[in-house]
Amino acid sequence: MTVIILKGRPVVEGVAEGEALVTRQTISGFGGINNQTGEITEVRHELRGKSFKGKVLVFPGAKGSSGWASHFQTVRLAGAAPAAMIFNITTTKMALGAVVTRVPAVTDLDQDPLDVIETGDWVKVDGNTGTVTITKPDRKDGA
């Protein structure tokens, strides 16, 4: 078991932890997600068919229509929000979306979270201090 700590900028307050779901592709609100289940629906997306519900979503940021925040607000109200969000690119869509999703969120980490965090890692996000604690399981193949 390896523990890695990253420091960044707090975006939304609160502390939460969960299993990481990582993608190198930006996520679309309108036409990109099922806002009742948290499933990615965009046809060409690498996470298509996977849900971020209860996961720590690690992704570059938001793309697409200005309705992004409204779609993620609906996700929250449907009980399908991620546990926390870690992202790289701050845009108005991303910031407003994080605020109305009301889950702990951080950005501007001292290492690229897309390089450090892998899907399945256990991640604690502290949105008060900007600290991200990553616990990597021992991998039998030694990788």
Binding site: V11, G31, Q73, T92
Partner: protein, 428 residues
């Protein structure tokens, strides 16, 4: 983050609970962006959420027709029902769910009609101007150079930033609603002069002429530069507003471009050096005939040459475009199997009525529609399988939101398809 004494007072409730909540939301949003302060705005364009069926399902059943409850949750992210006061700024409504007169033709159900009536009454009461258009700049809301705005619609933001020199980011439903109540928006992004400078150079090596060419060039460059600020060189002459309306809408659809410069044309780009403002171009993109063809090839969602539905007016059409289409329809009759709807702002429709264009459309079997949009309002004739449009943005969204295979072509090709019922267009 810095707050003025006045902003702190509003946050503490000096202007009532709703404005205190709006300020709290705005401050949390500004902190999430990493903004250092807020800036005053007196020009807000936003969407009022809750006219389409389904959007209010997140509210308890007994609250779904209480507009204060609907607006508090869907537009201000407040769990508590706030008593929403009148807007404090000049505030303009974007697209609505239906044409206020032609909703029957649009096939809008009674439930939506009821929701729209409720939303309309709410806007009237709170002073939210019912422009119901994605192009507020066509109907009297033309901001000044340097004016701080809080606009939501991406095709409108890129237009006022780039062509007028006004300052806005692409806002969301909640941030525009909050801004309308307190007259503030985060001083971040395109409000700050440094961020408006060019980042990517586009060397145009093909004579970009008609509206379709402009749309395709925008779509291609948006895909390449994503959220950056492209600077276009090699454009000869001054294009017109319709072409650049389509150009910006395309760039904001395939990418997230909110600002661009055309050297010698747009106000913050008298020269290439001024446009870049000391930035070094991160990348140089060449745009020629091959790139134009590549962009066109990305729109290959239609197979059937039988066209059921022609959609024009995305973004909402201008008088000049209405005149062009009316001229093409004069003395003609649409194919029995094809509908043609052109979407325009309501005040432009008033002039179209006076000019006789509306009659020309009706005699041909076509419609001039207001307030709404096929892809966003989700309105269409019955049993459409294949559509055609002259807009890259509409062709981008129709397959996703309506499931229509969609042909893309010039305005003339689209009108011809509506008359013959057959698609024969393509890139010229």
């Amino acid at each position: 983050m810095f707050l003025t004494d006045e902003e702190k007072a509003v946050l503490d409730g000096s202007e009532g609970e709703a404005r205190a909540h709006a300020m709290d939301l705005m401050v949390r949003y500004a902190k999430a962006l990493g903004a250092e302060r807020l800036v005053e705005t007196n020009n807000v364009c936003g969407g009022v959420v809750g006219s389409l069926p389904g959007r209010r399902d997140v509210l308890p059943e007994d609250k779904r027709h209480d507009m204060n409850a609907v607006y508090s949750l869907l537009n201000l992210d407040s769990d508590k029902t706030l008593d929403i006061p009148p807007v404090k700024t000049n505030t303009y409504r974007l697209i609505e769910a239906m044409d206020a007169d032609l909703y029957d033709v649009q096939g809008v159900g009674e439930e939506t009609q009821r929701l729209v009536r409720e939303t309309t009454a709410f806007c009237q009461k709170s002073g939210y101007q019912l422009c119901n258009t994605c192009t507020p700049y066509q109907v009297g809301n033309v901001p000044l150079f340097g004016e701080h705005c809080a606009w939501m619609e991406s095709s409108a933001v890129i237009y006022i930033n780039s062509l007028i020199g006004a300052r806005s980011n692409v806002e969301g439903a909640h941030s525009t609603a909050a801004a309308s109540l307190i007259g503030k928006i985060p001083y971040w992004g395109y409000h700050i002069p440094e961020n408006r400078r060019g980042t990517h150079l586009v060397e145009v090596e093909y004579p970009i002429d008609n509206m379709l060419d402009w749309g395709l060039m925008g779509y291609y460059v948006g895909e390449k530069v994503q959220e950056n600020v492209p600077v276009f060189t090699g454009i000869s002459g001054v294009p017109n507003a319709n072409k650049l309306k389509h150009f910006g809408a395309s760039m904001a659809s395939s990418g997230g471009v909110e600002m661009y410069h055309i050297v010698g044309v747009t106000p913050e780009a008298p020269t290439r050096d001024v446009a870049f403002g000391g930035n070094r171009a991160q990348e140089t993109i060449r745009f020629g005939r091959a790139e134009l063809e590549e962009a066109y090839s990305w729109f290959s969602t239609a197979k059937d040459t039988d066209v059921d539905f022609v959609v024009l007016g995305c973004p909402h059409g201008s008088l000049e475009q209405v005149r062009l289409v009316a001229g093409l329809l004069e003395g003609k009759r649409l194919s029995a199997n094809t509908d043609l709807w052109m979407f325009i702002p309501r005040s432009i429709k008033a002039i179209a009525d006076r000019m006789g264009y509306t009659d020309t459309f009706r005699k041909a079997g076509a419609y001039l529609m207001t307030d709404s949009c096929a892809a966003l309002s989700k309105v269409s004739p019955k049993d459409v399988k294949t559509a055609a449009t002259d807009s890259c943005k509409q062709a981008h969204y129709l397959p996703a939101t309506m499931g229509f295979g969609t042909w893309l072509g010039s305005t003339e090709q689209c009108v011809n398809a509506a008359i013959s019922g057959k698609w024969t267009g393509g890139l010229e």
